[in-house]
Symmetry: C2
Subunit: 351 residues, 2 copies
DNA sequence: ATGAAAGCGCTAACAC
DNA sequence: GTGTTAGCGCTTTCAT
């Protein structure tokens, strides 16, 4: 006997059923359940009772068609495979569900074209708002500007030059934290390994690196290697540095790069942090699983997602709100890769 | 002048507008666009032209209310933060969008209760199908069985004992691959570090480990450490092994554990793979960023997602299809952590 | 505070 | 092959 699925099309209970059971009109049921207008306590009670008894659930599709809000939010990330994003997505999904909303997740695969398609699809679906981390400073602009005209939109982490809500951390301050720490453990020569792509965050991080180091060591301030935000580039860049004038500290633009750097240093027999100290940026899962564990600029991933949703929902409720910009403070998670060698000796040991 | 958003509520163009513009009925427009019934080439042409000219897009909400399909799929994963899942999600989202469908993503936070809530929410939203990776062998069963009765459902990776479609890899074969490789490079004593939780995949992996090793070395066959699927447990377990009788090879139930093991071995001054060889399972991002790079049983993550969608959509189209079970073949990605020491010497060097 | 009734935009019968 | 029409289940006037 072959199992056949879905024999029983559980006939959904409608608002009409509830109205009948409660002995009131469908309008009253709707009002009682949504609270859109006051109802007599007695009516409320009858409705609630019938609702519970019949196990009624509002049909969100019908509600959306009539009411013009879908209780859905779309999120577009450049690459869900980069561990930075799942952490944010998790937080977004969590908060959203507590508000009775659902999340359409889209991955733009780092392509502005795909990104524009996804945004268009979300708008077409009638999402109440969009959270997006734009792929490219320039190429993403048009689609995001257009979307922001139609629905509330918040840019998260990265952002293009569009008048919308923005939630991000202070990347410049993060880089400064990393450098201050490296200096405090005695590092006196530096390099910065980053991406060649132009994004708001890459630019901020680079500017902060140069600003901080210029007064200290012009050589270090200009020791900047540009590739992309990948492990491979981290490896390549580190090998270059080792070949040339290897600095005592390598500041990396994200954790992926930092892990590549760690691999390369190890493969060349260099000890971390004794020979070279390394810092990452993001401080997600990767920093914790690194070997040795990686000191990294911590981004409050959960807060980033939570605040993005908070901004979005407030903008959904009141569309006349002016765009706001939230800049969270980063911190530094100090781990083995830059642990001070001893309490009194401030220098990096060189054995 | 403060910017105010969404002044222009771009009045959506409806099927009526297209019908008027094309000089046909709304029914013809619907038929022409959906292909649900044949229309005269001339009609088709007029409709298409008007559609393009007005930039018409079908309203998915209205379509869903009337047509009983929403073109949405729900996916529930236990923890989007585990790099295994983002890779699968990416593939699912990608394929889905090519089919004109959208993805509701939910994270159950490894909780059967949350999982049940999310599944209920998805059903209430009228998703056409569900892809789920169940949290717990027993506790997830009820909600999944109930959902599978209402809509097509495919279990991915992990699965509970419910008559539904299933897509997974052959975990037993994967473990066998890892052990065979370790033997081929001369390992003669083993340990298995895994989770204590009961899941279909954990059980399969463990059974395969014991089955394979029993004939070779009963001592090794029973050297099994159970904790959970985390880096922390990997570290703890490795330290235990080092304390007691450290084997020459450590087989890990996933990459997270393997990374913890690598950290612990390094912290104790043991060299990988010279002193101890290590293998992981999943072979996602983590295996590549590991230091040293980790030999790992490769799961075809992209294929897993793609096949899950394929199964789901075919079940959506024909609900009378019997449940199917797809078991993909794993492979082994050999990296530095178990690289043979030399072509002729089969043994692990011990210096 | 409540009910009756009019649609939201679309698709599926049902006629022709 | 095409048009007409009746809703899908809900929210919201408009009366009362």
């Amino acid at each position: 006997m072959v199992a056949v699925r879905n024999k029983i099309q559980s006939t959904a209970v409608t608002i009409q059923d509830v109205a009948a059971a409660a002995g009131v009109s469908t309008a009253s049921v709707s009002r009682a359940l949504s609270g859109s207008r006051p109802v007599r306590p007695e009516t409320l009670h009858k409705v609630l009772e019938a609702t519970r008894r019949l196990n009624y659930q509002v049909n969100p599709v019908a509600s959306a068609l009539r009411g013009k809000i879908t209780k859905t939010v779309g999120m577009v990330v450049p690459d869900i495979t980069n561990p930075f994003f799942p952490a944010v997505v998790k937080s977004v999904e969590d908060v959203l569900h507590d508000l009775g909303m659902s999340l359409f997740l889209c991955d733009s695969s780092e392509s502005p074209v795909v990104e524009a398609e996804r945004i268009a699809a979300l708008l077409n679906r009638g999402v109440d708002g969009i959270i997006v981390s734009p792929v490219d400073n320039l190429a993403s602009r048009a689609a995001i500007a257009a979307a922001a005209k139609r629905v509330p939109l918040v840019q998260i982490d990265r952002h293009v030059n569009v008048d919308s809500d923005i939630v991000t951390v202070d990347h410049g301050a993060g880089i400064a934290l990393a450098i201050d720490h490296l200096i405090s453990i005695g590092a006196d020569s530096f390099a910065f390994v980053t991406t060649a792509k132009q994004s708001s965050i890459a630019n901020e991080r680079l500017a902060a690196y140069m600003r901080k180091l210029r007064p200290l060591d012009r050589m270090s301030a200009h020791r900047v290697l540009r590739g992309d935000l990948t492990v491979e580039w981290g490896r390549t860049a580190a090998l270059k540095l080792i070949d040339e004038s290897c600095p005592r500290a390598i500041v990396c633009a994200n954790d992926l790069i930092a892990l590549g750097v760690l691999q390369a240093l190890r493969s060349q027999g260099l000890k971390v942090p004794q020979d070279v100290a390394v810092t990452g940026f993001d401080d997600g899962l990767l920093a914790q699983v690194a070997n040795p564990p990686l000191t990294s600029v911590h981004q409050p991933l959960e807060a980033l997602g939570r605040e993005a949703v908070r901004m979005l929902t407030s903008a959904i409720e009141d569309r006349s709100l002016p765009p706001r910009k939230l800049r969270l403070a980063p911190s530094l998670s100090i781990r083995e890769s830059t642990v001070p060698t001893a309490s009194e000796t401030a220098g990096l040991s060189s054995n």
